[in-house]
């Protein structure tokens, strides 16, 4: 299997699994327990929290462990909005559903939600963003990098605009960024990024599934969304997933900055070769793009058919076509680029990873070309 779906999830690194194993059947204590097994688990928990804090250049008290990216995002957005009680949340049309649907829920609860459009390159228009801030705005949530098209948003500039607005109007607009796809590839110093909340996820960085973290700047008050024993400083009740947390920390320790350089080269080669095929467009900016993301639309062929034919050839990829989604609606991200649902139906995403080599890409290219040719032969629309 040539796995080119690393944005969906990554393989858990064997070293991560090794680090986690003692915390299932040996050091299985509950970190809240006073006895030695509990204390050992507690020590592992706090060591791991320090690893995450160092990675984000923050204090360990600013790290809340959750069960994944979606929960981190829900906790930041809902937890903060509900604490304030009313107001407006500004986000973009291409956010992950965890952000968009949290906002939809808040809208039902009486909050105002503004979803800003993006350019045809998939980037936020900073001027339009600046204008969108109002006296009612309480929170901005903009993703660091997009999960479908890999576009990188100018987080520092967005933070600067918010800070200027706050200064000028004596407002207190906070900024959350969904960094689930960015982790491992982009700078993660929260003090440099000037964000108030940052969500990250274990299963996108060769860590286990079911673990994530939320950075919440010291002093910000939020309401919990899960209630119980008051773990995680009261913000996230429930016995801590110690093995998962240890795994997340190990995955972070294994991040190698050189990886981004290697993957960028492979990505550029892959994109260049794909664009040589007739009737292909790249979705999202070429320059401001994650090192692992390739997303193209092949005119006149439907994405699910391509993904299933690729699967038959041993290649794992994904599509924004409606036919592959549970909701039967095409990708909101690709549709937002040029208001073209057709392009979303035709989109294929390849996301490379640590183990991807040039040979894998050459095989994927050859198979993709043959599949596109064959499906175009039976297509009822002309490929442009």
């Amino acid at each position: 299997m040539i796995y080119l779906d690393n944005a969906a999830t990554t393989a858990t690194d064997k070293k991560v699994v090794e680090a986690m194993l003692p915390y299932f059947s040996d050091i299985y204590g509950n970190p809240s327990s006073l006895h030695r097994l509990g204390r050992k688990a507690k020590a592992a928990l706090e060591r791991s929290r320090q690893v995450v804090a160092d990675f984000l250049s923050c204090d360990s008290r600013e790290v809340i462990f959750t069960n994944g990216g979606t929960e981190s995002i829900n906790l930041a957005i809902m937890g903060y909005a509900r604490k304030i009680g009313k107001g407006e949340i500004i986000t973009s049309q291409i956010e992950h559903h965890a952000v968009l649907h949290s906002c939809d829920q808040l809208e039902k609860e009486g909050f105002k939600v503004t979803k800003l459009p993006v350019s045809s390159d998939g980037l936020l228009d900073l001027k339009a963003f600046e204008k969108a801030l109002t006296k009612d705005t309480i929170l901005v949530s903009i993703m660091y990098a997009n999960n479908e098209i890999g576009t990188i948003q100018p987080i520092k500039q967005i933070a600067k605009i918010i800070a200027q607005f706050n200064n000028k109007t004596k407002a207190n607009v906070l900024f959350h960024t969904d960094a689930c796809q960015a982790t491992g590839y982009l700078p993660m110093n929260v003090k440099n990024l000037c964000v108030d909340f940052l969500s990250l996820n274990g299963s996108k960085i060769y860590g286990p599934k079911g673990i994530g973290a939320l950075y919440k700047r010291e002093g910000i008050e939020i309401d919990p969304i899960i209630f119980g024993g008051g773990q995680e400083m009261g913000f996230r009740s429930g016995t801590e997933n110690v093995a998962g947390i240890v795994g997340l920390a190990k995955a972070i320790e294994l991040i190698d900055p050189k990886e981004a350089i290697k993957e960028t080269k492979l990505r550029d080669y892959f994109i260049k070769k794909l664009l040589e095929i007739d009737g292909v467009v790249l979705n999202g900016s070429l320059k401001k793009r994650l090192p692992n993301n390739i997303n193209v639309s092949f005119a006149a062929v439907e994405g699910e058919a391509v993904v299933l034919r690729l699967d038959k050839e041993g290649i794992a990829a994904s599509t924004g076509s409606a036919c592959s989604s549970k909701s039967l609606t095409p990708s909101h991200v690709i549709t937002a680029l040029e208001n073209s649902p057709e392009r979303a139906h035709e989109s294929i995403r390849f996301t490379i990873g640590r183990k991807t080599g040039k040979k894998d890409i050459d095989i994927a290219l050859a198979k993709t070309k043959a599949i596109i040719k064959s499906l175009r032969e039976i297509s009822s629309i002309e490929s442009k």
Binding site: R309, C323, I378
Partner: protein
């Protein structure tokens, strides 16, 4: 991708072997170089924006009104491709009255079932067939 995986509601998550067969080796596709002139009923349904566009060409014997040939092309997913492919086999040899009675359920049964979320995709071939029959009747 054989349909042995079920979701929590007990529905097939993946495709049956029959669907797979027709998806990977579609029958009766209108190929490049074939002449449209020999067909006397043409129907088109769907739109690329909706992710499906189906076109059907029928060669109907004017005397017996039997379908002598059925060719098709589609911009569609695996189940749209497979259901139209199997529909072409079902329709050839039938009179247009008989063929017009083929329902999406008939197609689905012939395919050995479809995942629930994909059933709507099987409707298009059937609609395009009806459109082609209507086109033949109108131009008669």
């Amino acid at each position: 991708m054989t349909g042995t995986v079920k979701d929590i509601d007990g529905n097939d998550w993946l495709y049956s072997q029959k669907v797979e067969d027709h998806f990977f080796s579609p029958r009766n596709v209108m190929r490049e170089g074939m002449s449209e002139d020999e067909f006397n009923g043409i129907g088109e349904i769907g739109s690329p924006a909706c992710g499906d566009l189906m076109k059907v060409w029928l060669k109907i014997d004017p005397k017996t009104e039997k379908i002598l040939d059925f060719k098709w092309k589609t911009f569609g997913c695996a189940s749209a491709i497979a259901s139209t492919s199997i529909l072409s086999e079902m329709a050839i040899g039938k009179t247009i009255d008989e063929a017009a009675k083929i329902t999406p359920r008939d197609i689905m049964e012939e395919l050995g079932g479809l995942p629930k979320r994909k059933i709507h995709c099987s409707v298009l071939g059937d609609q395009a067939l009806r459109a082609a029959i209507a086109n033949y009747r109108k131009s008669k």
